[in-house]
Amino acid sequence: MSSAYSRQEMMAIATGREIRDGELAIFGVGLSMLAGYFAQACHAPGVRAMTEGGVYGATPVGGLPWGIECNRLAVNAVSFTSALDALGCLVASGRCDVGIIGAAQVDRFGNVNTTGIWDGPIGESYRPPKTRLTGAGGANDIACGAKRYLIMVSHEPKRFVERVTYISSPGYLDGGDARDRVGFVGGGPSAIITTLGILRPDPQTHEFQLDAYFPFSGVDEILANTGWNLQVSAGLRVVPEPTLQELAALRRVDQTGMLRR
């Protein structure tokens, strides 16, 4: 039994549980960093965490960092190098065990769009989006290079689409062996963790299926909030709710309460 927790907190904890002790892991800013440092604070004290700025050995102090180079991280790092080092030598090289990225849109094959929202397909000629987003950042590099990666995204129909308008970070592309044909060193997304549950790819088709729902959600709610015909895994399960220890660890990391808003 645990105390009250938010959907965002459940998502962060479920994501953190995917990270194993000792792994080389890269976290982005925001939710991704909270989930990662939660894992370190809770069950994976030996996780070898980095950010794409080449910031090593740091633990956020004074609240969630504003960015991956924020002074809240710079305050206790043991090493600062560079983007080329972190994203190149340690991630694109295939060395990094796990990364966490966010998404504005994600599709049935785990492709991610963080570039923009268009009014319909882009068409043959490129044109600016109606709503410009943040671009690929380091997420594309993580998606290409990390051994596996996790996608964290709020579960809403507009975000879960049949096909993303623009692939900013490749999942399994058209599914099947499409990803292998490009020759990426990284293995692709191993899970999409949402505010309602967890989706995992079918080993052959690489289409994402509903693998688990949260104690406060259910299959119907998830299907209603997914913009494609989501298949439900034969082994569908309910995710255990956060333990008191997990919640305490998360809230130490999320000092400024970003996930409780």
Partner: protein, 329 residues
């Protein structure tokens, strides 16, 4: 040895022009961005810039909002924890600015390629996605094969991609400490400032503080940008404000948010330029604009200890200012 320290106004007069390829930005949106140089670009009415920023910063956000940028290339176009970059997105959405998308590693590699003067850089990222197939600078072709063309590995015979190297006309780079010859120390991640300093045709440093060269001789391994590749040094405390400079000052959270909110509209941007770009006459005026109390508060952050080893070599404000040549402040 003659000093390379010049005023900010002189640096912009001497090394910039309309339509140039201008590189800046630094260690991600919330830190170590030479935004003071961008403010001066606006004061001198530079326009039609081709901006090369590894990642967007408040500088690019401001330059874009003010209409000074026609084309931009970057890896990340947001403001991290501060949300979307309202000035930049407004310019893109209105079609006033064409943004070419790459990933953050791609930008670092393209700068490395420029630094090494390679004709191309092997690409194992960005391939297979719309970063490869969509080219904003050449919109009519889809899928585009010119942005990140295929190249065949002669050892295995398999195909990867090729990035075009970057060789910007000028890089304005924020550093924590510089001496008068342009030897510079960065505290905090380099992000891609090392590669950028070698890729750019010319380098101007914006230093939060000047130090005696003895500091560099004590810490030569920290001097990642040696003076031999630096054109000029500008002494400009709080050069990255409202962004952070590890060891020097924290991010000014309130100003970051207010600024981004302002840049979201035409009128807001004009007001911001009036109040925070055109409003000061010189460095001291700029520092007054930030405010004595605010500067003291930001300087008192948890990373201040990072500066401790170098404090004995810091030139006092008046002495550092007196080194500047080139007329007005």
């Amino acid at each position: 040895m003659p000093t390379k320290v010049i005023t900010l106004a002189e640096a912009v007069r001497r090394y910039t022009w309309d339509g140039m390829q201008y590189a800046s930005g630094a260690a991600l949106p919330v830190g170590s961005d030479a935004i003071a140089f961008g403010r001066e670009l606006l004061r001198q009415k530079r326009r039609d810039l081709h901006a090369v920023f590894h990642a967007n910063t408040q500088q690019l956000n401001l330059l874009a909002a003010a209409g000074a940028v026609a084309r931009a290339e970057c890896g990340f176009s947001g403001l991290e924890g501060f949300g979307f970059a309202n000035g930049l997105r407004r310019a893109i959405e209105q079609g006033r600015l064409v943004l070419e998308d790459f990933s953050n590693l791609a930008m670092a590699l393209r700068l490395l390629g420029g630094a090494l003067n390679w004709p191309f850089v092997p690409a194992t990222v960005n391939i297979g996605s719309d970063l490869q197939y969509r080219r904003a600078f050449e919109p009519g072709i889809h899928p585009n094969r010119n942005k990140i063309p295929a190249v065949t590995d002669p050892f295995s015979g398999r195909q990867i991609g090729a990035f075009s190297p970057l060789r910007p006309d000028l890089a304005a780079i924020h550093v924590t400490l510089a001496d008068s010859d342009g030897n510079a120390i960065m505290l905090g991640t380099e992000w891609s400032r090392f590669e950028l300093s070698r890729a750019a045709k010319r380098v101007v440093l914006l230093a939060d503080a000047l130090v005696h060269t003895d500091c560099m001789r004590q810490y030569p391994n920290l001097v990642r940008i040696p003076g031999i590749i630096v054109e000029a040094v500008v002494y400009w405390p709080f050069a990255a404000w409202p962004q952070a400079s590890p060891g020097m000052y924290d991010v000014d959270e309130a100003h970051m948010k207010d600024m981004n909110r302002a840049l979201g509209s035409e009128e807001g941007a004009a007001a911001y330029v009036r109040d925070y770009v055109d409003s000061y006459a010189d460095l001291d005026g700029y520092l007054e604009r930030i405010g004595t109390g605010k500067r003291a508060e930001l300087s008192n952050g948890a990373t201040a200890f990072l500066l401790d080893p170098y404090r004995r070599w810091l030139l006092p404000h008046a002495e550092a200012q007196a080194l500047s040549t080139g007329g007005d402040a």
